[in-house]
């Protein structure tokens, strides 16, 4: 059976298209490769310079004028404590706001304005939050330059991220789930707490961790509110030997955090301190990676379990 040959014009057209695809794919690959390589190089450099300094003493020593004695005790404790305050404030507020906007509020001019505001807040430079906190919390509320102020400031900073993540997680749930729950006679609170939030949890957790990862590296707003750069003591312990056994005095303690400690060391002339900064950077990076790993694990586990709440 004779078949007509494919027109030369068609062949040429196809060849040209294929070539264009090839060009684009090659270019994209090269750029991607360059970007990855640069990132990898930066991390490798940090680890090579910093890793030798990371030992037990590094975690258990206060900063010091002598590089050999200096450690990050006050910095990592500060980071952990400030992050805890941030999380305790930002998670419930952010999730509650997201639930309200997505499930309770009727669409109106009011909610539209709030929505635009939240979207813009997420893009406000972090130092602006620092300035706001300086006026509002440090002086206005009289909190001073304390762990409490730092936690509240960073909580404000990441609130939009958590609100948006909560809303998106809720919005992506199938409407059949809502209808099924309402059809059983549930009130709105039951629909949210028994069905929607458990199902939205992986998405919300991802948002929370993205937010906290952002907060953990923030430096500018904390310097603005008056974080110390050299601190050789720990906040008072949260537990006391006598009644009522817990104390919130630590909230009112001055503090420093890892990125500020790094900043301090980098700005000194001695190269030994620069290596310490790299070591602190490795610790900070590891913390961030652990948090991201946690987010991935939670998402994976919830998807695998398919029994939520």
């Amino acid at each position: 059976m004779a078949t007509a040959p494919i027109a030369a014009e068609t062949l040429r057209f196809v060849r040209r298209s294929r070539q264009r695809d090839l060009w684009f794919a090659t270019l994209a690959l090269v750029i991607l490769f360059a970007a990855c390589l640069t990132l990898f190089g930066l991390i490798a450099d940090l680890v090579i310079r910093g890793a030798p300094h990371i030992d037990r003493d590094f975690f258990t020593s206060y900063p010091s004028r002598r590089p050999a004695d200096a450690g990050i005790l006050s910095a990592w404790v500060g980071t952990v404590v400030v992050m805890a305050v941030t999380a305790v404030i930002a998670i419930p507020l952010g999730v509650a706001a997201g639930v309200y906007l997505e499930e309770y509020a009727r669409r109106s001019l009011f909610t539209d304005i709030i929505e635009i505001n939240i979207a813009n807040l997420a893009a406000v430079p972090s130092i602006i939050y620092g300035l706001l906190a300086l006026g509002l919390f440090v002086y206005g509320a009289g909190f001073g330059s304390t762990i409490l102020t730092a936690g509240v400031t960073l909580a404000l900073l990441i609130l939009p991220v958590i609100i948006v993540a909560t809303r998106e997680a809720l919005r992506s749930l199938p409407r059949e789930m809502r209808e099924g729950a309402f059809a059983l006679g549930a009130d709105r609170w039951q629909v949210v707490s028994m069905f929607l939030l458990p199902a939205a949890r992986p998405g919300i957790m991802t948002g929370v961790i993205v937010g906290l990862s952002r907060a953990i590296g923030e430096t500018a707003p904390l310097i603005t509110i008056g974080a110390l750069t050299f601190i050789a003591f720990l906040p008072p312990p949260p537990f006391t030997p006598e009644f009522p056994w817990i104390s919130l005095d630590w909230l009112w303690s001055p503090f420093t955090v890892l990125p500020i400690q790094m900043f301090n060391w980098v700005s000194r002339p001695q190269p030994a301190f620069h290596e310490l900064a790299a070591a602190a950077g490795v610790v900070l990076l590891a913390l961030t990676l652990v948090m991201n790993g946690l987010a991935i694990y939670i998402r994976y586990r919830d998807r695998a379990r398919r029994v939520l709440g």
Partner: protein, 286 residues
């Protein structure tokens, strides 16, 4: 008002374990004609500006199956979803007319009626199985938990009873705590039926419950509907004429949002009064 709905304050009204069965036995003993469970009176409905239902009036007989049939887009689901105020979940929807729920005579769609009242008394099974991402057990128990039941023994008993009624118990009794998503489509639909049955609703709404199922699962569910009729009032939407003829005692034929014909299924199918019904049933359009 019947005795079982006049529960003491604090008790949740919609849990009336075995009350429908007792009422059914009483009625049968007294040889009463089927009472009305609900009356649809001059019901119109709008999705925003678009009117989807036009002045529909029909009775829903107690402990009988009423089938809603008609071509795609004629408003069957829309009508069904009026009974439990599902349309309230989306803004811009509007009802007119009344749906009176007996025996109290409350108007389901009146704005002053809290939508939770019909929803606590009326169960619904959706066209597409929509189990919650929870265990099989928790899916069935959900309606009871919503009503504040915490007693483990009551929950266990109702879960088993509902799963048995939905003809699913034997298949899942050994894995009640596995995810509902691990069930097949047909099993999921039976699970949704069990979920709707667990709180013992007075009225059961089924929106094409077998459209996603194979013939065997369909036969299962049709047999189930026939059994449920002893205790429950059922309104079922179906595209399948044989199914409507098999399972229902009353049939309503809708077309373009209007009720064309309503009557005992036998009459609608053997001697319809409207030629349009005749044409649809015999497959000449739709």
């Amino acid at each position: 008002m019947s005795a079982e709905t006049a529960a003491p304050a604090g008790d949740l009204p919609a849990i009336r374990l075995d009350a429908p069965r007792a009422a059914a036995l009483g009625a049968i003993a007294r040889k009463e004609a089927p009472a009305l469970k609900a009356r649809v009176e001059n019901l119109s409905f709008w999705y925003g500006d678009k009117q989807a239902l036009f002045d529909i009036s029909m009775p829903i007989h107690e402990r009988r199956v009423t089938a809603l049939i008609g071509p795609s887009g004629c408003g069957k689901s829309t009508l069904l979803r009026c009974f439990n105020r599902m349309h309230d979940l989306y803004p811009g929807n509007r009802y007119a007319g009344r749906i009176v729920l007996e025996p109290e005579g409350i108007d389901i769609i009146a704005p002053k009626t809290d939508p939770m009242i019909p929803r606590l008394r009326i169960g619904m099974v959706f066209q597409k199985p929509n189990p919650f991402p929870k265990s099989i057990y928790e899916n069935v128990a959900a309606g009871l938990r919503i009503r504040g039941v915490r007693n483990r023994a009551i929950l266990d008993e109702q879960v088993e009873k509902s799963l048995r009624r939905a003809a699913l118990w034997e298949e899942v009794k050994d894995r009640l705590h596995a995810s509902a998503y691990d069930l097949s489509g047909g099993q999921q639909q039976r699970l949704c039926i069990a979920r709707a049955l667990a709180p013992e609703p007075e009225l059961l709404l089924l929106d094409e419950p077998t459209s996603a199922l194979d013939p065997i699962a369909t036969a299962h569910i049709e047999a189930l509907i026939d059994e449920l009729r002893e205790n429950y009032t059922i309104v079922i939407v179906t595209h399948n004429m044989q199914q409507a003829a098999r399972v229902s005692q009353y049939t309503a034929f809708l077309h373009l949002g209007k009720l064309i014909e309503f009557g005992p299924t036998e009459e609608v199918f053997t001697r319809p009064r409207k030629s349009m019904t005749q044409d649809y049933i015999t497959g000449r359009f739709g």
